[in-house]
Symmetry: D2
Subunit: 388 residues, 4 copies
């Protein structure tokens, strides 16, 4: 007899960033056990940039919802559950929460040793504003990735398929406090600080997973040397925390979860072919069926299960405006648009691409893919239910 | 001996809405003959909404460019050439101009009678603000469509594959003038007036092409009865004109143009399958080759020809946020976003979908598909070069 | 011996829409008694339009903060306390909450009978989407204003100086539900529904206060006949409620509150003169001192009291883009701006005007003044501390 | 007999960035002589940021309008006339052009020696992207200011009251070209490059006018040391040029112009008092009359002369969001707003403040006041007609 991990994944819609009524129903019905929840990855409908308070709002609502179940204060919930809210559901993207719960079960020695979904979480310490975007953040993140791999029961780098990080940004208030101390942050621009924080976090993942050589990375590579990247990192910056939260998603032999996970890299924002190959070849999904599946009637409840022919739970993807200003050799206008931030453009476009592949719009597409995949592209992971 | 039509199509990039340097080079080289240009369909990089002056700017530059060649004033150019500028290149979309030129050549009786691309243009009279979005605009548009079909040499409705219309909107100044006359426009909202004008124009196309019964259409169907639509209409509203300009694109037997055109309807914003079928089955395009084609280097000139494996000249498509607030049964947030207009979201998403199919981003994707295709979907036409 | 009303007003800053730390400190110190709070008027930093979730977020935080003090659930707090959150702090405006608390004290017959600040609150029933912007909303609002006057102890219309209303808007979801029932809302546009709801609410105030003749008002006057308006109404639309909440602010003889309130009407968005007259002549405030007061150091806590020379607690004002497209005969561009909603422009401009008069930026400036003051102008009330 | 300068100033409205119909009328009537025009300062209605093509559009229209009068090509007009288009008319601000024309007249020795308006212009060479925001731009600008002073006939620094500069920004295309050359621009962010270019230009003015010691300025002071500023510089960045254009406005004894000019500095965005003092004490304007003047009817032509009681021609002002995040000690939200750029907020607020002082909205308020006045404040100049 030994213990094996069983991960359950629920994808749940909402009517707004403060609406957890569907989650509450799952808890009441017993289908979702609050004490087993270890991570929530949400897409909320704000602008995904500096002043997107929908992330904070949703996280706060999760804390209020779970506190009585966890016998702790609302503030303490965030210490126990990795709450990663990513803002921005531009275009067809649909706001939703992906809820990961986990429990350990006894299995006997004859149990299957097939690879199945596992996950683990970890936190870094809080960062000072001047540490963001620099080696301090890179190293602390790399260590947290290793901690989360241990928590997940993953021992080999290649079993990691997606590392989700929530990282801080520099607000005006934090900037001024730092400047008064004589500190020199990487940038004075609040929006740009999000990019630095994401970039350094991604390089931390790359170091932990052996994708980049730590010795080759210095402060001035961040947001400059685009040859350095992780093919599995996904980082979202937000105003609601001061340290990094790390979620490692991967596979381990013998886990009991009824899911598999795989990953690929979109080479640019319109690279549907790579995603289709991931689904068809690595995860054995009938892509034709997924795409052609009958459209859901508008009146169908948002939380209904996806088309039965499709076993896809979610795609987890990063999107960005190609930093050289071109996609497939043709000029784009995302970087010079002072009305709509480039990350919003990128999520809308990549969200359309991915939704057209899988026939579903409640997808986790996060903007700003600095050092996350090649310039203009980004990592994509897919979680699929295994055939019974 | 008889006369046959030869249409040439150039797709040309630009560095900004006022940049026609590449067009000037084509003229200087003799490849493009100014006197043969009869229509230009541009995508310019403004917001595509009420205060998008990039449309007017681009149209003005075209007038200044062509005036000396046409021996007329800049103002008179717009009377001779159908200049349709559609604003909004959100996401991966790339600003560009599609230039249609036409000449008549003698052919002998043994010439091929294969169907090839033809086009024609027509104008309506100027409209009063209170006529926009109502039967007056519908009827005048229907007549102009018939006129443009005659100009194109098309006699049968099914030979029409795309009808592009540029139509007016109601500005604050026009609204106040109308109100002072005691007139009652369909709306007092400038942004909403664009939707009414596009909707009535599309219904005019539907009437002309026999897709809707004229007797069934009254003022109050416009923007209300979504069962009424044209599968071939594309309407863009703009501040720079007071009447409708109509461009009919179709096929006629015996034309000499080295292009074919076909059309389909996207059933919703992520319906890639319909477009792939159009390209593969109607137009004999190797979709796999197009999508997988090698990415162009960023340094490659924007006006370079597309991947040799692809013969696609352009896709002409309409995009809109589904009016019921859902795509494939899941909630979208485009209609309630007060920071980004819904048409901008829709272009970004559909632009991503289409670019991922054809591996090219200089596509004509226009926002606001009221009565143009089914609710949430829209017509798509493809122009492809025939194999020599 | 008889009972007299004492109203206390606290104006409190915040670091974000979810930050009530300063309020919590006031409660802990005993300066603010939770059970005496009857109304909160907040300015939160969202866009103030349809998808401004900062209003809902702030209101939710207030509910969680007060629930343990009121021995009720968070949801029930909103039934006891009038929480009016107005989004949008464009330009120099500073997010803050104005908290009204009230208690009744015994006074003997020799007490002063000077006029002092009083207030009262009331609620309407919930509205159906198709009732918004129509007579149903007007009449229910008028009755609620009368109820709130009674609650405030005000018997004469001229003693009312400001009526703040929070009213619902039509979301995409509510719209679709209504359409499926066969109902016909005033508009299908979510942003425009805010204007209809504010307009009808303001007309309800005008009827209750005798500023307009009820018999002269029909559905089709709403947002059309700008001659009908209240000089004392202020309405904010929000996603977080389905009925109107009404707060009446006025003066009554013998109240114990250490405040006076007065009102005026800005004739247009730059009419500083009217506000200066209100402060100097009605409320005996030294306007020169207020404006010239020494600038506060940036490091000074946001909640510090204003310049000692100024006794101003807050200005409560409505702002709008002049519907005829002109201010002082010169064209403005607010109504045709598809990147920034007109209400945001108007708040920024009027916020600048008012802050330059009183030397303070934490002002309650609310956008969208339909039937609230003359077209392009709006009511302004001032609350000032009486000299001891 | 000697020669004296006569400057004429016309302020002219427009219906859009491409509308010069009113200017054309002034030329046709003979009131404005094209060959005497030496500078135009326009406010156009774009976003005033990177992708504001209304500036380029307006400048292009001016070139096409003047070319036949100046017997040169449209491109050559910009070399003869200083065309400074500043984008952004947020809030109440009204788009308009201020046209400066100049001629030299013979005067006898008994002519008045009173100080009157004079102006001069100069150009720097084109800059490389990596020179923007650095000493190269500072020094070239300082020299151009001295050249423009000589052109204006001004010999003493204190006679200079306003220096308007139009300066370049870094586009994505220019950035990539620079990076490929191995150059290191100050920033990779197109929006931020506007701030660097404005800041260095302003420091160039400060050096030329003796407001800052050249030896104390190095590259790393730009956008960091806010103690260094000019009280008379106004810089606008735009996409349409590669070098700086400089316009010096001042006074000289014996000039024949019927105008005076003076300047002050707003200490923060709501400092109306400084402006009122400038008008009343330096320029002898009846501020009460200006503010209280009868409102113009909406129907009055936009180009009508201002209220007769007011002799104000225009205010020329810079506006910015205070970089410490506070105005008068209270938090503002302009710097963290990812939906509306901070410069737009600032123009809207300061535009409201100034319009409320002078009762007129066609004011030249330009955003981004880096090193132009103290942090959060900015220079303001006023041009007034002298009493006959």
């Amino acid at each position: 007899m030994k213990m094996a991990q069983r991960v359950e994944v629920h994808r749940v819609g909402c009517a707004g960033p403060g609406d957890l009524s569907e989650v509450a129903r799952l808890i009441e019905s017993g289908e979702l056990k609050p004490r087993e929840i270890i991570a929530v990855m949400g897409k909320t409908e704000g602008n995904g940039c500096v002043n997107d308070h929908t992330r904070d709002f949703a996280a706060t609502q999760w804390c209020h919802l779970l506190a009585p179940h966890l016998d702790c204060s609302a503030q303490q919930v965030a210490l126990q559950v990795a709450l990663v809210m990513s803002g921005g559901t531009e275009g067809v993207l649909s706001p939703h929460f992906t809820i990961f719960s986990r429990r350990w079960e006894e299995v006997d020695d004859s149990a299957s040793t097939a690879k199945r979904l596992v996950l683990g979480i970890a936190h870094t310490r809080d960062f000072l504003p001047e540490e963001l975007g620099r080696e301090a953040q890179i190293d602390a993140t790399a260590q947290a990735v290793r901690d989360a791999m241990a928590d997940a029961g993953i021992t080999r780098n290649e079993e990691v398929h997606f590392v989700q990080i929530k990282c801080p940004l520099i607000t005006s208030a934090r900037l001024n406090a730092a400047l008064q101390r004589g500190a020199v942050p990487m940038t004075h621009d609040t929006y740009e600080s999000m990019a630095y924080s994401r970039g350094a976090s991604a390089l931390g993942v790359a170091v932990a997973l052996g994708e980049c050589d730590r010795a080759a990375i210095h402060d001035n590579e961040v947001l400059h040397n685009w040859q350095l990247f992780s093919a599995r990192a996904s980082a979202s910056a937000g105003i609601e925390l001061l340290g990094n939260v790390v979620i490692v998603l991967g596979e381990a032999a013998g886990a009991l979860s009824p899911y598999r996970i795989g990953h690929t890299v979109m080479q640019d924002a319109v690279d549907a072919a790579s995603v289709r190959r991931l689904l068809a070849h690595q995860l054995d999904l009938d892509v034709q069926a997924a795409e052609h599946g009958p459209a859901f009637a508008a009146s169908r409840p948002q939380t209904a299960n996806p088309h039965p022919a499709s076993r896809l739970v979610n795609l987890l993807a990063k999107a960005e405006a190609s930093p050289d200003g071109h996609v497939r050799g043709q000029r784009h206008t995302m970087l010079g648009d002072s009305d709509i931030q480039a990350t919003r453009h990128a999520r809308a476009a990549v969200g359309g691409v991915l939704a057209s592949i899988v026939g579903q719009t409640a997808l986790y597409v996060s903007g700003g893919a600095e050092h996350q995949g090649p310039p203009g592209g980004g990592p994509v992971a897919a979680i699929v239910r295994v055939n019974p």
